[in-house]
């Protein structure tokens, strides 16, 4: 599972507003990359482009040397977990996963759904309960199971822990580390600097649509260092 996700000269404008300006950076398989920045920095636009839902105005995105187009096959390599769970509240946990397993063409879908429900600890008690009745933490666990069903090579997270309690956030950090160890590329967009420091081996800071910081460290980043870098690069006080 090796491959580099590269952005070359990416720009995105919405009307007269420039959300991203000439962004060039790359992400590697087996790393957790945290993308930080204040509101309006372009983080969500970047994630939208990486997920193929937003078309860049200029520039090129490539994965493993191939240009990423908006073709449906590309989306089989991507898993996405947002701050909203992206689930159908009126379906059960099992029905939600079964639906997406079918849409992704997952082989042995029933078995895979059972595996994922086991993994996120929703197998016994809650698998036949309507997802709307789940706590926020349980919904995020189910959302992660949905994102991992098809074993994507790229996992995109948009503020996944924004509504989680500390135990839920800790669980999510463990899962991110597990996916990194499995060789997946994890891109995490967050406002939570401590959460980013806990898991990231690659730190990207955006400011007003431009790249303000981009560095990899195999040993990771310490929380105070991340805070200092964030304040320095975004001029936050």
């Amino acid at each position: 599972m090796n491959g580099e996700l590269s952005l070359e000269g990416i720009g995105k404008t919405f009307g007269r507003h420039r959300a991203l300006v000439d962004l060039t950076l790359s992400f590697s398989a087996g790393e957790v990359a945290a993308v930080l920045g204040p509101n309006g920095a372009g983080k969500s636009t970047l994630l939208g482009i990486l997920s193929t839902l937003v078309r860049p105005t200029s520039g090129r995105v490539s994965f493993a040397g191939q240009t990423v187009l908006r073709h449906s096959l590309v989306r089989t390599t991507i898993g996405y977990v947002g701050h909203e769970p992206g689930l159908y509240g009126d379906l059960t946990a099992r029905q939600n996963l079964q639906l997406f397993a079918n849409l992704y063409g997952v082989p042995d879908a029933h078995q895979r759904v059972d595996q994922m429900l086991e993994r996120v600890a929703l197998a016994d008690v809650r698998r036949d309960a309507i997802a709307r009745t789940f706590s926020r933490g349980m919904q995020q666990r189910l959302a992660l199971a949905r994102a991992l069903l098809h074993e994507p090579q790229i996992l995109l997270f948009d503020e996944p822990s924004s509504a989680l309690d500390p135990a839920g956030a800790a669980w999510l950090a463990e899962e991110l580390a597990r996916e990194r160890a499995a060789g997946r590329l994890v891109v995490l967009v967050t406002h939570d600097l401590d959460a980013a420091a806990a898991v990231a081996s690659h730190l990207v800071i955006l400011r007003r649509g431009r790249l303000a910081f981009d560095e990899r460290r195999s040993a990771g980043f310490a929380a105070p260092e991340v805070r200092a870098l964030y304040e320095e690069r975004t001029h936050a006080r």
């Binding site: 839902l53 089989t76 947002g82 379906l91 997406f100 849409l103 063409g105 997952v106 098809h150 994507p152």
Partner: protein, 235 residues
């Protein structure tokens, strides 16, 4: 990588199944639609029939039936996309490798099924309240309603997707959709009038309007497939 491309038909069927399964659990749309359609029929029956001895003409009865279908259908369209909006489920759907045209077809099939089910209940009601011979050409009437429903839903699914993130979507949906579906309303009402009119000697004129509805469906579905991706993705 475990995932493989799933077939277009299987994807569309999966999305339609999902909407129908949700509706089976909640019965929310069917009850709301049924209530609204019944209310329309009742209001017209009190407004037009009360105090009169003479029966209404087939044209008026057909018009009432199609107005009930269109008004209640708007509720169905609005609610099916509410389910995509809640929890940002639409994003998960758009991120899946399913072709957008399959998403459109799945939503169209589910909406049409739900609408047609309600029409099967409301049509006999029209027959009872207005003493209309709805059973005389039941198969043709059902076909006209089905084709009209598909045409209405084909346009409606696109508008509902476009208004997914609009705050005033409920008001806007009717305002935008009704002018577009005028051909469906006219052809449906005209065709049904001919079916309900005992003085019309043969079915040929009704067959013409049924074919016309079929042609409108082909155009609306083709335009819907083409228009759905940009409006659903929001570009």
């Amino acid at each position: 990588m475990r995932a493989r491309q799933t077939t277009w038909l299987r994807s569309a069927a999966g999305i339609a199944w999902k909407d129908l399964a949700i509706e089976w659990h909640s019965r929310e749309i069917v009850y709301t639609m049924g209530f609204l359609a019944t209310l329309v029929v009742l209001v017209f029956s009190f407004a037009l029939v009360a105090g009169q001895d003479s029966k209404l003409g087939p044209g008026t009865i057909a018009g009432i039936l199609w107005v009930a279908v269109l008004f209640s259908g708007t509720v169905a369209l609005s609610r099916t996309f509410d389910r995509e909006r809640e929890g940002e489920a639409i994003r998960s759907l758009l991120l899946s490798p399913v072709p957008r045209s399959a998403i459109y077809a799945g939503k169209l099939a589910a909406t049409s099924c739900i609408m047609f089910f309600v029409e099967l209940v409301v049509t006999p009601l029209v027959g009872v309240f207005f003493s209309a011979p709805v059973a005389e050409h039941a198969a043709w009437l059902a076909l006209q309603l089905l084709l009209g429903t598909i045409g209405f839903a084909a346009a409606g699914v696109v508008f509902s997707a476009a208004l997914l993130r609009s705050r005033s979507r409920d008001a806007l949906l009717g305002a935008l959709l009704f002018p577009v579906v005028v051909p469906v309303l006219m052809a449906g009402a005209r065709g049904t009038t001919l079916l309900l009119d005992a003085e019309v000697p043969d079915l040929d004129p009704a067959v013409f309007w049924t074919r016309f509805l079929g042609a409108v469906d082909v155009i609306f579905v083709a335009v819907g497939v083409w228009a759905f991706e940009p409006v659903a993705v929001g570009e």
